[in-house]
Amino acid sequence: MQLFPCPFCGTRDETEFHFLGEADSPRPAGGGTASLAEWTRYLYFQRNLKGRVAEIWSHAPCGETFRMERDNVTHVVYASASLRRESAP
């Protein structure tokens, strides 16, 4: 069992977490004016780096969405940080 650090709940079992995607892949700015290539990349493509990566995960029981840095070969977790904003935009 891998243990992942939820920024809100602390260390919990891997079965409670859901992988959402790679970090630093922002939604294309400009909505409908963004190009087909930008939307295709955003929706489907990934870098798929091997080794130390930054990813977006969610913790199902509390709903926290956060950024986690880990190694996808050794499974060492380096950091996790909440993506919550201090106040609603």
Partner: protein, 417 residues
Amino acid sequence: MSKRYSALSLAVEGLRGHTGWAPVWRHPRPQPAYDAVIIGGGGHGLATAYYLAKLHGIRRVAVLEKGWLGSGNTGRNTTVVRSNYFYPESVALYDLALRLYEGLSHDLNYNIMLSQRGIINVAHSDAEMEICARLANAMQINGVDAELFGPEQVRGVAPAMNFDPRSRYPVFGGVWHKRGGTARHDGVAWGYARAADALGVDIIQNCTVEDFLIEGGVCKGVITAAGTIRAERVGLAAASHSATLAAKAGFELPTRIYTLQAMVSEPVKPALDTVVLTLGTGTYVSQSDKGEFVFGGGLDRITSFAQRGNSPVHESVVAGLLDAFPGLGQLKLMRQWAGIVDVVPDSSPLIGPSPVPGLFLNCGWGTGGFKAIPAGGWLLAHLIAKGEHHPISRPFDLDRFARGALIDEAAGSGIAH
């Protein structure tokens, strides 16, 4: 050069104490240039080289494998072959594979131990039976054998299953696919390797591709630990490592890298002569010729390049097996292992030109690459030789994501791939 295998050659060698067998492929040093280089010495890469040499007359071909032949997913799967898919595009692809498998032992002069023992997808509710009827109808319309079974017919092909109506996943029936079955996974890799080598293909093991040779935006070869190898056409058939190699060539792939586990029990006497998949748990199982129960289930949903798998999925797969076959509860697990699979959002493979001219793709098979080996190799060979798609591979081009023309088999046939 290896000799032709036959009942006579086996008998003669038996009388001679098996002293006359020779290695069945060479261990050449890489040449500085080839007509085509294939990255990945698994089933797909070796099959590609074989069909390039046999069907297209391109014999100056090298297969580069970073480990040993079949050491990736080709040697890690549960050996099931089948073509029970939903969409016409998928059926054309996977049934090509199954038809090639059906003649492969003769074609390669190598026994791949194909056993068309049939596969049953078991349903546990009226709603799942309706999905099964939909799948069986689609398969029949597309020309693939399929039969909708009731519970008594399931009992007929898998009597060791749990038929207690009070069980968590009771047997309501299922889809029977008679031409499905198993094949010897190592044998497929070795058979293709031996046949390709006999046609002049250089199979180079322990040769890691580190980068691509790109000149003027065109792929002109590969850079390996053993030096630069030039080739006008390069095929990429490296499963999950296709994505990491694509990054070196400057493009991304629409894949997610997950771990898929499998395991075997200790060997026992024959008790199951078909392949069983239960839709409720996703566990699938067959019994090998040695008597081991070979089984697996769903993916570890943690993106990973580690080839080992983790305990939560391991436990759920074993629980799924014991729900369907409570009588196996006394067996010991002998081995557990995992492969890393590249899963595409629509659970269909990526076959076609890459964004870099001269570099062609055959990857993204996810959890279902073994059953597709002959078709993947056949189609990539066609692409490399002709420079364009065969009609069967065209729908699986990388351009389907921008076009929105996905082939969503996970939704279509309801099977994890």
